[in-house]
C-alpha cells in the first residue's frame, strides 16, 4: 500500500545522514581533484587588501593570533596571505597568542612561509618577534596595552627583547596597526583596551560565524577592515597573486553550499507537495 504522501513524504523526511554523506563527497572530491572554478572578490576583502597596503616598511604591527589550532584550519588562507603581504612590505611583527595552542602555530605557519622568509630575508628577532601566550584573560590584555615592557621582557624562547624594534613600544598606541586572527578569544578585550583607548587601527581575520558580529564593529569604525573566513583568505590569495590553500578549497566550498541549497529545495518541495496531497497543516522535517 502506498504510504501517505508518496514521493513528497520521502523528499520532506529524508534521513539527515544523506546530508552528511553528500556533503562529505562534494567536499572531498574537489580537494583531491581540483576543478578550478572562478571566484568573485568581495568588497570586504578589497578593503582589507587596501588597508594592508597602507603599511610602510618598518611599521610595527601587533600580530595577535587569537585562535586555537582548530580555528587556524579555517583562518589559514587569510593568515598565510596576510603574512606574505607583511613579509613583502618589510613590516616588523610582534606576534602574540591568545590561546595556549598557539605554541604549535609558529612552526606550522612559518614552515609554509619559508620561501617568502628566504626571499625577503625575514628573520626572527630582527623582523618578527614572538612574545608567546600573553592573553589568558582581559586583565592581561589591559596590562599589556597600558605598559608593554612591564609585562613583556622576553620572547617566547626566553631571549630578551631589549635592543629590538620593540624598544619603541611603550603602550598599545605605539603600534602602527593591530592584525588579529580570531575565533573570538581576546578580540573584544583588545578592542576595548587598545583600539578604544589608544586609537590603533585594527584589521580582523575572523571565522565565518563571527563575521556578522564583527561587521557591526567594522561599521562603527572600531575595525578598519575585516577578512571573512576561508573565503576571504582565498580572495586575498588571488589579490596578492599567490594561490594557496584557500583557493584550492573554494571548489569544495562552492559545491558544499550548492548541495545544501539543493537539500533545502528538495525538502521544501517535499513539504509543500506532502501538505497539499494530504491536506495536513504541518509536517516535521528530517528524521
Amino acid at each position: 500500500m502506498a504510504k501517505e504522501g508518496g514521493i513528497y513524504r520521502l523528499m520532506a523526511t529524508y534521513d539527515k545522514r544523506w546530508v552528511y554523506v553528500v556533503l562529505f563527497i562534494v567536499v572531498l572530491g574537489p580537494l583531491i581533484n581540483p576543478i578550478g572554478m572562478p571566484i568573485g572578490i568581495s568588497a570586504l576583502t578589497k578593503n582589507y587588501y587596501a588597508q594592508l597596503n597602507t603599511l610602510q616598511e618598518g611599521d610595527i604591527v601587533f600580530d595577535t593570533w587569537n585562535m586555537e589550532f582548530s580555528g587556524y584550519m579555517e583562518l589559514k588562507p587569510g593568515v598565510l596571505a596576510t603574512h606574505k603581504m607583511f613579509i613583502e612590505k618589510g613590516v616588523k611583527l610582534c606576534i602574540a597568542f591568545g590561546h595556549y595552542e598557539g605554541v604549535a602555530l609558529p612552526g606550522e605557519i612559518f614552515k609554509q612561509l619559508q620561501t617568502w622568509l628566504d626571499r625577503y630575508d625575514y628573520r626572527e628577532g630582527e623582523d618578527y618577534i614572538i612574545i608567546g601566550y600573553v592573553f589568558p584573560n582581559e586583565a592581561a590584555v589591559a596590562a599589556l596595552a597600558q605598559d608593554f615592557h612591564a609585562n613583556v621582557r622576553v620572547d617566547w624562547k626566553g631571549n630578551s627583547i631589549e635592543g629590538t624594534f620593540l624598544d619603541d613600544i611603550q603602550n598599545a598606541g605605539d603600534f602602527d596597526m593591530i592584525s588579529d586572527y580570531t575565533t573570538g578569544l581576546a578580540t573584544t578585550y583588545m578592542i576595548n583596551h587598545m583600539v578604544l583607548q589608544y586609537g590603533v587601527p585594527m584589521v580582523e581575520n575572523s571565522i565565518g560565524v563571527s563575521v556578522p558580529g564583527h561587521l557591526a564593529n567594522l561599521d562603527a569604525g572600531l575595525l578598519t577592515a575585516l577578512l571573512a573566513s576561508t573565503r576571504g583568505g582565498a580572495e586575498l590569495e588571488y589579490l596578492i597573486g599567490s594561490p594557496g590553500p584557500g583557493l584550492k578549497s573554494m571548489d569544495a566550498f562552492t559545491l558544499g553550499h550548492y548541495s545544501l541549497m539543493i537539500f533545502i529545495i528538495v525538502g521544501n518541495i517535499g513539504h509543500y507537495g506532502w501538505t497539499r496531497r494530504t491536506g495536513a497543516k504541518d509536517r516535521t522535517g528530517i528524521k
Binding site: 546530508v19 582548530s70 604549535a104 586583565a139 596590562a143 617566547w156 561587521l215 573565503r231 533545502i264 513539504h271
Partner: protein, 203 residues
C-alpha cells in the same frame, strides 16, 4: 568585598581620568591579576589530580578513564617542563594528538550546521518563507562561484547582512554590555556573592 571595590576603582578610574601614579598602580594591579590568574592552572591541575585520585581509590564508575587522564596529564606536563615547549616531543604531542582532536570536533560542526539548516529552512508560514528567501540569497552569495557570474548578488546579500543581521547583532551587543555592567554593580554592592564561593544564606 573591600578588596573588590578598591580593585575595581583602581582599574576603572584611570580608564577615564589619566593620571601618572594612578596609571602606574593600575598597570601593576592588572599585571598581578594576570599572573594570579595563570596560577589557577596550577590549582586546576591539583584539583583534577585530587578528584581523579578519589575516583580511582573508590573504584567509581569510569575510574579507568581517570587513570588514563592522569597519565596523559603527567606526560604532557612533564614533557613541557623537562624538555621545553619547543622540544620535539611536546610539539609532537600537541600537533599529533591535541590539535587533530580539537580540529575534528570543530570540523564536525559543518555537518551539523548543514543538517540543521536543511531541516529548519522550511516555508511553513509566510514569515518562514521570507526567512527562506533571505537565507537563500545569503547562501548563494557565500558560494564564491555565484559572485563570479552574478556580481549583483553581493549587493543583495550585503544589504540583508548589513541591515537585518547587523542591527540584531548591535542590539544584542548593547543588551549584553549593559547586562554585564549591571552584574558588576550587583557584585560591587554585595548583592551577587556566588562568585566568591558563597551560596544563599552563607554570606
Amino acid at each position: 568585598m573591600t578588596v573588590l571595590v578598591v580593585s575595581f576603582l583602581l582599574v576603572f578610574v584611570p580608564y577615564f581620568i589619566p593620571w601618572g601614579p594612578l596609571d602606574w598602580l593600575s598597570g601593576k594591579l592588572m599585571t598581578i591579576a594576570a599572573v594570579t590568574n595563570a596560577f589557577t592552572i596550577v590549582i586546576a591541575v591539583y584539583s583534577q589530580f585530587r578528584r581523579s585520585g578519589r575516583f580511582i581509590r573508590e573504584k567509581r564508575k569510569g575510574w579507568a578513564y581517570h587513570i588514563y587522564l592522569l597519565v596523559l596529564l603527567a606526560i604532557m606536563t612533564l614533557s613541557g617542563f623537562i624538555l621545553g615547549q619547543h622540544a620535539g616531543a611536546y610539539e609532537w604531542l600537541l600537533l599529533a594528538v591535541v590539535t587533530p582532536l580539537s580540529s575534528v570536533i570543530y570540523g564536525i560542526l559543518a555537518f551539523y550546521m548543514a543538517s540543521a539548516g536543511a531541516r529548519a529552512f522550511r516555508a511553513r508560514s509566510p514569515q518562514a518563507a521570507l526567512l527562506l528567501v533571505a537565507g537563500f540569497i545569503v547562501l548563494l552569495y557565500q558560494a564564491p562561484l555565484t559572485g563570479a557570474f552574478f556580481p549583483g548578488i553581493e549587493g543583495a546579500a550585503t544589504y540583508i547582512t548589513n541591515t537585518f543581521g547587523m542591527s540584531v547583532s548591535r542590539m544584542f551587543s548593547i543588551s549584553v554590555s549593559i547586562g554585564a555592567i549591571v552584574l558588576g554593580v550587583r557584585m560591587l554592592t554585595g548583592r551577587e556573592v556566588a562568585f566568591l564561593g558563597f551560596t544563599e544564606g552563607e554570606e
